[in-house]
């Protein structure tokens, strides 16, 4: 048995629509998550991060989405080849997901307690009373009084809804947790609370995690390793320390330069100019080349491969320092 709880190999996902054409959402993405590790997927909105997570859950709407190629191994078993019934058992039990928007992720006409116990009942083989008890326990665990078991989602604030969503995701003590922008919809103060809570729960339950975010601060605080995603490709992957320090790919550099630096130094932020390429017509060579200051003719000729920079640090760039 491998050390990795999850390993994504050469995943390619396309969205096909008659009106817009074929949209290359995820292109040949590979990464591993070791047991107990937290991997961050960083990138702008629309880079394909959520699509990667939904592919792992096998929750992509098909059509229009279709997984063109690749493998997603969970404990060595390919999720993409599993029969539906088996996959259903895994979902929620072994892998679970925290969704981006807590406002709409809960069913408006079910009590929050019931929504948690629905999860428990499906996987833990408990009777109604026991699963309700377990759900109440989960509510307490995420910091909501169990007395609010019978309340409806509209009676909760955004932060509390997100806690409920997290309670659902963690109810069956999953081995792998996919957290899709778990804090984006929340106020800054609540963000910190939720992040702390997730960190604590993670250590308590020993869960591995894939954290999707565009917030580099969140990554620095929580992730062991980072993959920077741009236009459906991983452009840089390595341990958080190395990536944050070296910022080898021009896009990673750009991301950091567009953040305010509290140590002083720079006065003006440097945005990355331009927009992400249209996913229906990606550049042939480096996907970042149209926006890259270092770009020259060699960058646009053919697809660029991920190259080993040092140790476990890979970068997809020809202009990398040291080559």
């Amino acid at each position: 048995m491998s050390e990795n709880i999850l390993s994504v190999k050469n995943l390619t996902v396309k969205y096909k629509s008659r009106e817009i054409g074929t949209c290359n959402a995820v292109n040949d993405v590979s990464f591993d998550v070791a047991k107990g590790e937290t991997v961050g997927l960083v990138g702008e909105t629309g880079a394909g991060k959520t699509t990667i997570a939904l592919s792992i859950m096998r929750l992509l709407q098909s059509p229009p989405a279709s997984i063109e190629s690749g493998e997603i191994l969970l404990d060595g078993e390919d999720i993409l080849k599993m029969p539906d019934a088996h996959m259903r058992k895994i979902r929620g039990d072994k892998i679970s997901m925290i969704f981006q928007d807590p406002m709409s992720a809960l069913n408006p006409i079910d009590k929050v307690g019931d929504q948690i116990s629905e999860m428990v009942k499906l996987h833990l083989n408990l009777n109604n009373a026991e699963s309700a008890g377990k759900a109440a326990e989960m509510l307490e665990m995420v910091g909501i009084p169990a007395a609010r078991f019978g309340d409806y989602p509209h009676q909760f604030s955004g932060g509390m809804k997100q806690r409920v969503v997290i309670a659902i995701a963690l109810a069956c003590r999953p081995e792998l947790l996919l957290a899709d922008e778990p804090t984006t919809a929340l106020d800054v103060t609540i963000q910190a609370q939720v992040l702390n809570m997730m960190k604590n729960l993670k250590t308590e339950l020993g869960t591995s995690m894939v954290l999707i975010t565009h917030d580099l601060g969140v990554v620095a605080e929580t992730c062991d390793r980072v993959a920077v995603v741009y236009a459906g490709e991983i452009v840089e992957i390595g341990t958080a320390d190395v990536v944050f320090e070296k910022r080898s790919h021009p896009y990673t550099t750009g991301l950091f330069n567009s953040l305010p630096d509290i140590t002083g130094g720079r006065k003006r932020l440097q945005p990355i100019l331009g927009l992400m390429p249209d996913p229906t017509a990606l550049p042939k060579g480096c996907k970042f080349s149209p926006r890259c200051r270092l770009c020259d003719e060699s960058c646009t000729r053919e697809p660029i491969a991920l190259r080993l920079e040092s140790g476990t640090h890979f970068v997809r760039c020809l202009k990398m320092k040291g080559i």
Partner: protein, 304 residues
Amino acid sequence: MLNLTTTAPEAAETEVTEDIIVVKQRGMFRQILDRLVRNRSAMIGFVLLLIIVVLCLLAGVIAPDGYNAQDLSAKFEPPSLKHLCGTDNLGRDIFTRILYGGRISLFIGVVSTLFSAGVGIVIGLFAGFYGGRADNVAMRVLDIVMSIPAILLAITIAAALGTGVNSAIIAIGIASIPIFARLTRAPIIQLKNEEYIEAARAISASKLRIMFRHLLPNILSPLIVQITINVALSIMLAAGLSFLGLGVQPPNPEWGAIIVSAKVYIIDHSYMVTMPGIVMALTVIALNLFGDGLRDCLDPRLKI
């Protein structure tokens, strides 16, 4: 609801040249038109409607003798090449009558809809925009009107106004005012607190200008769809009134009137009822298809 002032991102073609981002945009109406032309149901509906309307308008050319030309030697002839829809008890060509009648039916449908849409939209705009007492009064009155089923209201008004095309138009028009008023008011109440309306207020745009220039265009798409569908409903309602002996009367060839005058002969000559009904159903189908397509094109969010 489609926010008509913004452009869908798909329509923006971006191009990066050094530090300047150039965004090319197609006009909003152009986009909707493009989508409409590509929409199958809208096009089928449109073509069908066009055929029906053109045939009705050309009734004088196709059948110059008029809808009351009798040929007593050719009574009750079933549909044939000579008489596409057969002839009636007086030997009148039913197809001719349907064509001439179509002018009346379509006229009633369109005019009564424009009437109710005009009145309803204005009521809804003012009630929604001013709120407070004006809104309360308008809504209470609409509550009253709406607690009488529309058909019943139309029947009663038509009974009071007497027979004829005009009274049918007024009766049907009044009966559909509440739909338009409510359809207008509900989104206005949401929109009037939006920031762009506040912005318009901030530059002291007049209330009328805010209502008609800023609010109305943003809620237009569901109204346009409702107008299309309401024409169909009005045509059916007008036929229903004729059927009850209210509204338009035979020998006027309004479609409902043709059917009701054929009622006596259905046992032996059912085509006299079937044919005008089919044409009427086709017209309504065309309008509904077009309305459906229009809805998809005006509000792409609903379509996957």
